[in-house]
């Protein structure tokens, strides 16, 4: 059987490999998406003081350390049963909003966007951020650079560092902000709103106005009907930092809404022996394999999922874009995976608006940004929306606050099954008997994962190995004919 290997997959965070098998007719027989790497955080965080978790788990991912820092911070608050004062919460969410605007910018212009701005089959040497800057010009390229700079400046002012922030502790933060810093943050936030609007217009002009791209978005090869997950506030509006997890079914109706502490009653993780990454699914729907539909527990957690799972955006400009999004794409929910790129830019606008809201909050410069824990530490769950999906940290400690056990379900891992399905469907749709497979064809298969903005640095936090193993021998139909186990 002929085999096509894409290794490594590129313009994402972390490592991955795609194996495509073709049958005698030249059609795709199957596609496997493998994660080659793991690091072991769930084990080696055991024994550490729990207040270090926001610093240690940062290092799961340097692209979204802010997400791990915040999920960890909320989990350690819960471990100590301490209520963070309003200023502390608002400072964390302000940092997080600025981070979101930056991260979504990085994805649109450097990771996912080059496929559209340069074209899916543009030369490899040009299909990247530097090619984008050459094409759109230094003035616009400069805006992208400026946006990233502003976002990281806010992260540094509140979080102490640009990458791997260090200020969140159980009960709040180690520092607040001054009025001078607040003014600077507000000014940058107002600029970020304009930048987000500019980016939405660019998406409209470059992608939505191009019939070839629009056909690609609304077409079938990048479409799946699954459940959708996202964090919502008390009004069921999208929130990145706090709230309850809401899941809607493929028909768009609410399936469940749960408190962070109840995640394990709702999510389970399936294991396959051919990849180092687990496959989360909705426990009460069940694992039915890599299939669509209401009977399959496969769900997606991305910007598009958050829009599908919510009743709207909590800020006015983003809400208007939300309404336009569903009006253009034929109502809720939207199942077309490439629409994630558009949803991401609507979230970019929301993040910028929220950034300004928080920067102009009268409490934001208050010195009341932390509470000293007094209760005996036990166990706690922290959930935030990472840009790449719902992020859950769960820690158990002894009564001195030393970590005894850790469970992590990270943003990208939520989407593992959905990404496998998207890659297979794209490969089957694009590689056909008699079609010459070009570099551009393979890149269009990679576009199927790129929409999810996966981060396999995040996903590979745990560390399985090859100690115990099961080998299934299958017939041509995939039925298991014999099994060898090595314990």
């Amino acid at each position: 059987m002929q085999r096509i290997t894409i290794d490594p997959i590129t313009r994402l965070e972390g490592h991955g490999k795609i194996e495509i098998f073709l049958n005698e007719e030249g059609n795709v027989a199957n596609t496997y998406f493998q994660i080659p790497e793991l690091r072991g955080f769930e084990r080696f965080c055991v024994g550490r003081p729990v207040e270090e978790m926001p610093l240690l788990t940062n290092r799961i991912c340097g692209v979204c350390p802010e997400a791990h820092h915040m999920a960890a911070a909320k989990a350690v608050d819960a471990v100590y049963h301490v209520e963070v004062p309003p200023t502390g919460k608002k400072l964390r969410e302000l940092l997080y909003s600025a981070f979101y605007a930056t991260d979504h910018t990085t994805h649109f212009y450097a990771l996912g966007g080059p496929d559209f701005i340069m074209g899916p089959d543009a030369p490899v040497a040009e299909r990247n951020i530097l090619g984008v800057i050459h094409k759109v010009g230094l003035e616009i390229g400069g805006k992208v650079i400026q946006m990233r700079k502003y976002g990281h400046t806010v992260v540094e002012i509140i979080g102490g560092r640009k990458v791997h922030p260090c200020t969140s502790i159980p009960g709040g933060l180690t520092k607040g902000i001054t009025e001078e810093q607040r003014i600077e943050i507000e000014k940058m936030g107002r600029w970020a709103i304009e930048f987000a609007q500019f980016s939405l217009k660019a998406f409209n002009d470059i992608v939505l106005s191009n019939k070839q791209y629009l056909d690609l978005i609304v077409g079938d090869i990048y479409t799946h009907h699954t459940y959708y997950m996202g964090l919502v506030d008390a009004n069921n509006k999208v929130n990145f930092y706090d709230g309850k997890v809401r899941v809607v079914a493929p028909d768009g109706k609410e399936y469940v809404t749960y408190e962070p502490k109840d995640y394990a009653a709702n999510i389970a993780e399936h294991v396959e022996p051919w990849t180092y990454l687990k496959f989360p699914y909705l426990k009460n729907v069940g694992w039915k394999g890599f299939v669509d539909g209401p009977d399959s527990g496969v769900y997606m957690a991305t910007p598009l999922s958050r829009l599908n799972a919510s009743d709207g955006m909590a800020t006015p400009l983003a809400q208007a874009e939300y309404e336009k999004f569903y009006a253009t794409l034929g109502g809720k929910p939207v199942h077309q995976r490439l629409a994630i790129h558009w949803a991401r830019l609507i979230e970019l606008l929301y993040a910028a608006e929220r950034w300004v809201e928080l920067a102009t909050d009268p409490e934001i410069t208050s010195p009341n940004y932390r509470a000293i824990p007094t209760a005996t530490p036990t166990e706690g769950v922290g959930i935030v929306e990472a840009p790449r999906g719902t992020l859950t940290h769960h820690y158990w400690t002894d009564d001195r606050g030393m970590v005894r056990k850790v469970n992590l379900i990270v943003g990208t891992t939520n989407n593992h099954a959905a990404i496998c399905m998207s890659l297979k469907k794209a490969a089957q749709g694009l590689i056909k008997k008699g079609v010459t497979v070009t570099e551009g064809t393979l890149n269009m298969i990679e576009m199927a994962f790129r929409a999810y903005d996966p981060c396999f640095s995040c996903a590979t936090h745990s560390l399985p190995g090859q100690m115990k193993m099961i080998v299934n021998f299958r017939d041509v139909d995939g039925n298991v004919v014999s099994t060898i186990k090595r314990d």
Binding site: P36, R48, L111, R148, V163, E446
Partner: protein
Amino acid sequence: MSKPKFAMYWAASCGGCEIAVLNIHEKILEVDAAFEVVFWPVAMDAKYKDVEAMQDGEITLCLFNGGMRNDENEHIAKLLRRKSKIMVAFGSCACEGCIPGLANFSSITDLVDTAFTTITTDNPDNIRPVTSYAMPEGTIIIPTLNPMLKTLDQVVDVDYYMPGCPPESHQIAAVVDLVIAALNGKAELPPKGATIGAGNSTVCDECPRKRNVKTIKEFRRIQFTTTDPELCLLEQGIPCNGVATRSGCNARCPSAGAQCIGCYGPAEGVVDYAARLISAFASVIDSDNPEEIDKILDGLVDPAGQFYRFNLAGSLLRASKSAQKG
């Protein structure tokens, strides 16, 4: 004349080094002007086969980040070493193992069993991933994990070390300037084996907090302590690692009210980071009474993590006995 070629790669890493490079902002355009970027998986689409097709030594500068967690990491490290004139161990993982190096306190079996028995894992057959798996269409392969995480120089020859988790962007910008100047014959590169993009003293020397050479009666945990924003954290009982850690970061964490956790690695001339830190902590303890000293030391709740947080894989110790056995 063609431009010198640039590569950046991540082995077992978090991607923060990539973000730190992007955070040189406008200066990335100077990198683009001075170099032809030929391999950089986060940013562009060249594949392993493209690197394999290059001449030996064809890449002028390779920034290599991430630790050696599996055989694929080692294979790519060797490949890029062969293809590169200047190989930089970039960031804490490549230099000394970083936080993922803490895995060297556990055996692989322990790590595996932990990951595959979490409360949400649905694994009734107790499956573990296998490196080679026979699917109906053919065998598919994933890399084999090393029993211990290794640093880059435990696998290949390294020309320069650039510490930090991640390296600070102003330091990256300075190194970019230096390399571009050297390529144009306007500067000299430091001797092989040098640490670049960092200072040669300690974090304390860059820290704005005041030291009064006071001694302490107890170690305290940050969540229970209201610290004075002007005074040295260690002198307030917070176990801050600045005293043994290399300078170069502008003392970012202590400046933000958080203790230095040691990401820039051992200060210049320090052979064993843990030994230096232990002696520094011992020197601030205000007691001659062995019982009282023991009690004060009990306040350091996680000595292994405190002293080896970033440097275990690169330390003299390297790993626990259970990890060394594999």
